[in-house]
């Protein structure tokens, strides 16, 4: 499809959102084999330094997985590869059975159902809390649709529902830049939920939160698992423990250990990596 055609293409949005951008062809999201995310032998190097080194990772549909590892282990680079920000030098990255992530751009990956929360809360500081959620909402995101967009009642309800879930219902008309750090984190999580993704990538979601907020976040994530797959990068071990689920330890760009939290915490190599620094 040509540039101009895709620009003007007005087809209604597809059921899985994959043809919303109108200018890429990809398989439908297929979770029939129970695998949501599949990374095989991913290698990424920056000027000779291997940020990821033959990384293998498999996330099941509905799973809640924690990724831990010392600084520079490649956690953020891994998220960059999954979301299309960084192209791997080699290896495979599949979302479900059929969607090749290495061939899609960032917005396209967002449309097929992967949402990402950054390490540093990244929200639209000049917009209101409400507008932040409005912009994130799953809908046709091409230019023409945005020009003509007008919020329907059910869309307002959806935003109101998310506002309650992230406990910002009293702050809807507040400028997002004025929120506390913890509230910004929650807003970004809320934006992710508005996208209705199948897979959520969360980079240090509870950094800067109070203990109370941290525990509430853990409860939220546990409640999301099952319907969504979640990959959480976190340093806060109390939080990781609360989440339950499998833990993957990254070190120097590959998987060092995998298992439940107690197992990896007692793993001799993991202890060395963490204490050896």
């Amino acid at each position: 499809m040509s540039m101009v055609e895709s620009f003007l293409d007005d087809r209604p949005e597809g059921s899985d959102g994959s043809d919303q951008m109108g200018h890429f062809v990809t398989g439908e999201l297929d979770l029939s084999h129970g695998v949501a995310l599949y990374l095989e032998d991913i290698t990424v190097s920056f000027d000779g330094f291997k940020a990821l080194n033959n990384l293998n990772l498999e996330i099941n549909a509905g799973e809640l997985r924690c990724i831990i590892g010392p600084n520079g282990a490649g956690k953020t680079t891994m998220m960059d590869v999954i979301t299309g920000k960084t192209r791997p030098d080699s290896g495979k990255a599949f979302f479900g059975q059929s969607i090749d992530l290495t061939r899609l751009t960032e917005p396209e990956i967002a449309h097929v159902g992967i949402g990402r929360k950054f390490q540093k809360p990244t929200i639209f500081e000049q917009h209101t809390v409400f507008e932040n959620l409005e912009l994130a909402m799953k809908t046709d995101k091409r230019v023409w649709k945005s020009l003509m967009a007008w919020l329907a009642g059910d869309e307002r309800d959806k935003i109101a529902e998310t506002l309650r879930l992230i406990r910002l219902d009293g702050e809807a008309d507040r400028q997002a830049g004025l929120l506390s750090h913890g509230q910004k984190q929650w807003l970004e999580i809320g934006m992710l939920l508005m996208q209705e993704p199948k897979l959520l990538l969360l980079d240090e979601p509870v950094a800067g939160m109070t203990d109370d907020e941290t525990m509430r976040t853990a409860e939220l994530f546990v409640s999301l698992a099952g319907k969504h797959s979640l990959v959480v990068v976190e340093h806060d071990m109390a939080f990781v423990e609360k989440l339950g689920g499998l833990v993957t330890v990254l070190h120097e760009g590959s998987v060092l250990a995998e298992g439940d939290l107690a197992t990896v915490q007692n793993d001799q190599r993991v202890i060395e990596v963490y204490l050896g620094r």
């Binding site: 919303q20 951008m21 967002a110 990402r116 639209f124 917009h127 912009l135 230019v143 945005s146 020009l147």
Partner: protein, 370 residues
């Protein structure tokens, strides 16, 4: 229930702004013509031809300033090449004005004088159709649009941003200027187009023609302002400012910034083209100096002085700076550029929100103390 578009456009300005806009149009379409035509030149109420030309010219600049505000104030993309789009609109329309001279030129030829001077025997292919008003009016919109689309597509696709983008736009307008300076390019070389006689058969210097052009420019400015207000208040506008503030977040929630930037970039260029087309018949000349880097930088200064991201600010900025310029260049011509530089430094350091920001601050203070 979704509101119809007309209601949405009406609600993009508040009541006060609509009233202000109405007063502005009444002034431009009724009061100015009456004062110009009905009072003798020595009357205190007479508005001179000079004043009408000057204000008409500044309104064209104000159009460019609104275009610049859309891309810079809302899109966060600083173009230092907007003079190019202005000049393209001007040159496109200038071709028509050159053809309207007919055989009244110095060489009494069907060809424009500069072509006779170059010993050309017939019109080059790109002048075909330039005697048709409709065709050049289309060209004045289409040329800036096409140039902006092609340049913008590659620049935004390569994710060129910030100062790099600004420098490339500056280089673009400079390159175009050098191209238009050449006589062989077919646009009159460094003299450009001038000595216009008629527009649609009417004498171009008559009071009535001037007043019509003046009124058209005022209407165009008002329409553009309403359109721009609607644009920035739409969801499109919110996505645009979101791209300005956090582009990666925008991408990861599924918008492709390329098309958003390209849309506002092309819209901005087309507005400049319209401004250029209205400018040429009123000022009576277009030459490559309109594409000089300095001109494009001046556009950014109008916007900065008035207040970025406010739409009305850039219009105020265009008026303030250009009225100051026409006073300075008569009274102290050699100091104008120093003054302009000083103004830019003061605004950057002390008034990041421009005059509109200053006004708001004063109002807040008044409100707080009352």
């Amino acid at each position: 229930m979704r509101k119809p578009l007309t209601i949405r456009i009406l609600s993009s300005l508040d009541t006060k702004s609509w009233i202000a806009l109405g007063i502005f149009l009444a002034l431009a379409l009724v009061v100015v013509p009456v004062l110009h035509l009905n009072f003798p030149e020595d009357s205190a109420f007479h508005i001179s031809t000079y004043a009408i030309t000057l204000i008409g010219k500044i309104m064209c600049y104000a159009l460019v300033a609104v275009a610049m505000d859309l891309i810079w104030g809302y899109g966060g993309i600083l173009s230092l090449g907007h003079g190019l789009f202005f000049a393209l609109g001007g040159y496109a329309f200038g071709m028509y004005l050159m053809r309207q001279i007919g055989r009244d030129g110095s060489y009494q030829s069907d060809l424009p004088d500069f072509m006779v001077f170059l010993d050309w025997k017939e019109l080059p292919w790109f002048w075909v159709g330039s005697d048709s008003f409709g065709w050049v009016a289309f060209l004045a919109l289409a040329l800036p649009a096409v140039v902006a689309f092609v340049f913008g597509y590659f620049a935004f696709r390569s994710r060129i941003k910030g100062v790099y983008f600004s420098i490339i736009t500056q280089a673009l307008t400079y390159a175009a200027m050098l191209l238009f300076f050449r006589n062989e390019t077919g646009f009159g070389g460094n003299n450009g187009f001038t000595d216009f006689k008629r527009i649609l058969g009417y004498p171009i210097t008559s009071s009535e023609t001037r007043l019509v052009l003046f009124g058209l420019t005022a209407v165009m400015l008002a329409v553009t302002l309403v359109f721009a207000a609607w644009l920035v208040k739409s969801k499109f506008g919110r996505v645009l400012t979101a791209i300005r503030d956090a582009e990666s977040r925008v991408m990861f929630i599924g918008y492709n910034p390329l098309w958003y930037k390209l849309t506002i970039w092309v819209i901005s260029a087309v507005i400049c083209g319209i401004a250029g087309a209205l400018y040429v018949p009123q000022v009576g000349i277009i030459n490559p100096s309109e594409m000089s880097p300095g001109n494009s930088i001046e556009i950014a200064i109008w916007v900065a002085v008035g207040g970025r991201g406010t739409l009305i600010g850039p219009i105020i900025g265009a008026f303030v700076v250009n009225l100051a310029k026409s006073w300075f260049t008569v009274s102290f011509p050699e100091y104008w550029l120093f003054f302009l530089g000083l103004l830019f430094i003061i605004v950057t350091l002390m008034l990041p929100q421009g005059l509109v920001g200053l006004w708001k601050k004063l109002m807040d203070k008044k409100g707080a103390s009352a």
